[in-house]
Symmetry: D2
Subunit: 342 residues, 4 copies
Amino acid sequence: MTHNIAILGASGYTGAELIRLIAGHSSMQIKALGANSKAGQRLADVFPHLRHLDLPDLVLIEDIDFADIDLCFCALPHKTSQEVIAKLPKALKIVDLSADFRLRDPEEYAKWYGNKHAALEQQEEAVYGLTEFYREEIAKARLVAGTGCNAATGQFALRPLIEKGVIDLDEIIMDLKCAVSGAGRSLKENLLHAELSEGYHAYSIGGTHRHLGEFDQEFSAIAGRPVKVQFTPHLVPANRGILATIYVKGDAQVIHETLKNAYESEPFIVVLPQGEAPSTRHIRGSNFCHIGVVADRIEGRAIVIAALDNLTKGSSGQALQNANLMLGLDETDGLMAVPLFP
Amino acid sequence: MTHNIAILGASGYTGAELIRLIAGHSSMQIKALGANSKAGQRLADVFPHLRHLDLPDLVLIEDIDFADIDLCFCALPHKTSQEVIAKLPKALKIVDLSADFRLRDPEEYAKWYGNKHAALEQQEEAVYGLTEFYREEIAKARLVAGTGCNAATGQFALRPLIEKGVIDLDEIIMDLKCAVSGAGRSLKENLLHAELSEGYHAYSIGGTHRHLGEFDQEFSAIAGRPVKVQFTPHLVPANRGILATIYVKGDAQVIHETLKNAYESEPFIVVLPQGEAPSTRHIRGSNFCHIGVVADRIEGRAIVIAALDNLTKGSSGQALQNANLMLGLDETDGLMAVPLFP
Amino acid sequence: MTHNIAILGASGYTGAELIRLIAGHSSMQIKALGANSKAGQRLADVFPHLRHLDLPDLVLIEDIDFADIDLCFCALPHKTSQEVIAKLPKALKIVDLSADFRLRDPEEYAKWYGNKHAALEQQEEAVYGLTEFYREEIAKARLVAGTGCNAATGQFALRPLIEKGVIDLDEIIMDLKCAVSGAGRSLKENLLHAELSEGYHAYSIGGTHRHLGEFDQEFSAIAGRPVKVQFTPHLVPANRGILATIYVKGDAQVIHETLKNAYESEPFIVVLPQGEAPSTRHIRGSNFCHIGVVADRIEGRAIVIAALDNLTKGSSGQALQNANLMLGLDETDGLMAVPLFP
Amino acid sequence: MTHNIAILGASGYTGAELIRLIAGHSSMQIKALGANSKAGQRLADVFPHLRHLDLPDLVLIEDIDFADIDLCFCALPHKTSQEVIAKLPKALKIVDLSADFRLRDPEEYAKWYGNKHAALEQQEEAVYGLTEFYREEIAKARLVAGTGCNAATGQFALRPLIEKGVIDLDEIIMDLKCAVSGAGRSLKENLLHAELSEGYHAYSIGGTHRHLGEFDQEFSAIAGRPVKVQFTPHLVPANRGILATIYVKGDAQVIHETLKNAYESEPFIVVLPQGEAPSTRHIRGSNFCHIGVVADRIEGRAIVIAALDNLTKGSSGQALQNANLMLGLDETDGLMAVPLFP
């Protein structure tokens, strides 16, 4: 049985990544590609690496007939996404990759994103899309809100530790190194090759990055009390990958065992032997997340390091994993490709 | 039915690429991984990006039991390869990725590689592995010699043109831009990141690159008279990809049509619309080869540009394609993954 | 004695490069920085790497008082440049880095740039700024038109060979590999890091690149008859550098001697020993141009390879060299910095 | 007056960087280049970017006549350095760039470097070379031990804060991002372009990096009690630059003012306006260190970020700055070159 798929926002990087992954899926077929700014163009012109695929041209979202569509991926910018989704058929299964439905409290949304939410009804039914922790809800959901790429990385490393109470909740420092594709295909001076390559810097320093809204929401819910982490992302000259170096207070061995136990039956989360640390180059282009734990020389402190590909496990791979659940398919279908190295 | 596979030279880049591709194959199973210098190590230690795969540890080649093996890939350095293959079981199907069995004339081999050939018997039965042009011979072969990555790129662009006589055979200039993984995982000063990144240069200038032996052999055979091309490779700061910019004398439209016709039913060779040109970023990590033809402002001259991934279509992908033929399988099995972009 | 300098277009890469070089000049002082789109900003905000310099803020060009200025660099986009220069004081010494005054024939200008020239009077007095070949004219000029970066690279390799008649004028093929800063600081999708890094491609293929106008003008003038070269530039993932690989028919040794003789007293043009070839990494950030000559295996053919930094010798360094001549200073003042490697 | 200089270890990156900087010095002249493994070679063959300089060939260290030499830079690997320096003339002024004379306590040296010190006499007289904090001692020293590149970066950010007691001494976490040239020109698999580019990872995790010896020594001395910091370096795909992101407990404004006051008359240390953060791309190739301070959203916490070029301010630039002091010259001579961007 074939499942008909639509992708809105097909001319961006997460859209292209969805197409790449679905091309290897056993039972999904792409029926419509929406991309307002590039409507009318052939996919081969927008993404020449997809030119061998037999796919429909890009169209205006309003020209898509959703009657046939079994599931729709929304890879649109935040704010646009909520406006579009508010108008989609009420019964259509949707996986949203934007930030629009991640925060449950509309006040929090307004605080972090600077505008009132325009699709409160949909927001209420949305399920947070961090697959490994919301599997059952996702399987039954109509609308799933994909986790932010940084937020996913940090949560994979920390959720089991917070849940089991093995680290000090008031002393969590996350130093992230992020590749440039996380910023999307937008025309900004600081994303030019000449500006970005050969250098690196921190941004959204001091607790201003929007993914903190997700950390606050999720970590506080798990802990049953407010948890605020420190989080500083850095932009690094590479195209794919997030490396989260997390400084915690707790016993390294206990931390390692806690993570090992939490993920032992997960297909995509790999906990490395204690003392080993991951690299983004070893998960590149794949849906895997590698996590390592190392004890610090200072007693009672540990470093937890997680690596994933922001475009795959951090967004489009995660989205496909969720879609598989929503359609009752094997969760790993289309997602087992080996990382590309070198 | 499952086909049992051995890979010799599993700790190099082409070995790792074979493992990556075979992981997505529907009916191959890796039974043995030979890698003399790293024998005894787990694959996860040598290539952490492969750590989720359930594969045997690396072993000495002499410790492999070939009784069970249906096909063996040799991803060893040239010279070593011929010595190893000379001792393998006489009936074992072999795809060799080295340069050792590409040249039919032992004199030519000695001229380009500087040593006498040590496995003349095997050399005699070897079939040249440029799949699209030796398909029938490969299907029946016991030993297939994989084409060199540069040699493959140039031949995809030129063979149909030489065969149909649509270009001047004495005025062919190939300017290649090659990524660094083509040089392998060897410890050389000029392959260090600090030496290589942020700069580019020509090497083996003036007709000294060994892949010229293949060009001479193949082009002369097609033309029925000696053909000597000019060929200058350049090392470019990227990990994967070969871009061949080829300057020829002939009519661009005729050239384009000739290539279009030659490759119209090929699954991996894509001839772009006339006037368009390929980029290595659009075939990265895939088995595709993109070819473009553009007319020059000087009448009677054209530029033919071909792009492929040296590790995939240029070596390990090509090798798997040949193995599929040798085992009577679908030629594209394991090879349809979409290029990774960005 | 201090020479007062103005730079128009100070917020682009060639503007920043001028500031960098002039900071090391013994007798120039920057008095005004014009940058219309970023007027009002401090230089430290636009180019943080220049923050330690004590320099004026960016201002509107029309707000600059040129009474005090001894020499003005125009690092504006072409077309804008001619409009601005037409209104500058008639006696002001100007070095223009744009394409606007390079072509002597207004028809040729219109053909390559698509618009009628708007400053014909100034165009008539402009001197072509390839220092090593127009030294005397430049020393006396009021307005010097900087050579294009690709055009400079090709001319350094070829002018002496055309002048001395040691190569076949109808068989010159230039394959250039260009770094990304040559495209400037403009917001274009194909200049994003995620689009550009890890891949390379040809552009302006088939004789459509505008720098061909300069080649045609200069080479034909030297030869005394029309000379048309083939020229294909490629974009390579690095920030600085042009490598020109030039295929010619002629005797390699004669070619090498001709270049050696032509440049033996030049401070910035280095002809390598015969058989050696340059790399862009060895001239990065400097005003040097390295040239190598290698014989091909095909008798009567040679490869000439030239490397320079597009932002230095290819534009801003060349401009400062010309300014030194125009002000009667030591030609090398501010330009002797050693290349940055690694 | 000209000062005669010898450089030992001239075939490594810090050796080449010394040559680059000294080429722009007003009164130093290089008289000898020692490089045992490449003795007999011309500098142009080992470092083609230095080919225009008129310099002596590389020689064996034992063949250098030190009678004429005013000051000797030792850019040798640690352990080799102490053996060589033990045999140099007792009165020769020496700036050592290795780790051999940084730690005052021989026990600490043995602990971090794994061998007994072989030049205890010299170690006793060595002055720690962090110019801004040991200026007077350096001016009078015979032997100066250059600070480690990571150790310098962390100390520039933290020394004034520890001295003034404005941060919690038990809660300092340093997350460093280091470029690859810091690892030198050695042939290691993990330094190959294909291994390193497009990915990033932490190394020496948990307090095992040798530069911790310097932090412990210096910070404890300033504080008058033991201070142990957490320090995790990361390898990032770029050639030059260290970015230290340091998490501290203290008031951001007080921290900023403390740094501002400490460095207000320093020529190379630039404290950015509060809330701004540095990037390695803005100090690349220069002797500058940029420091920024940002308050965290969590009250009482701040992030201090420092950036410098590991080859310049982190080693060879610092070494030249010290040599200037030792010879009674202007401290900034040869060191004012503007960073290279892009």
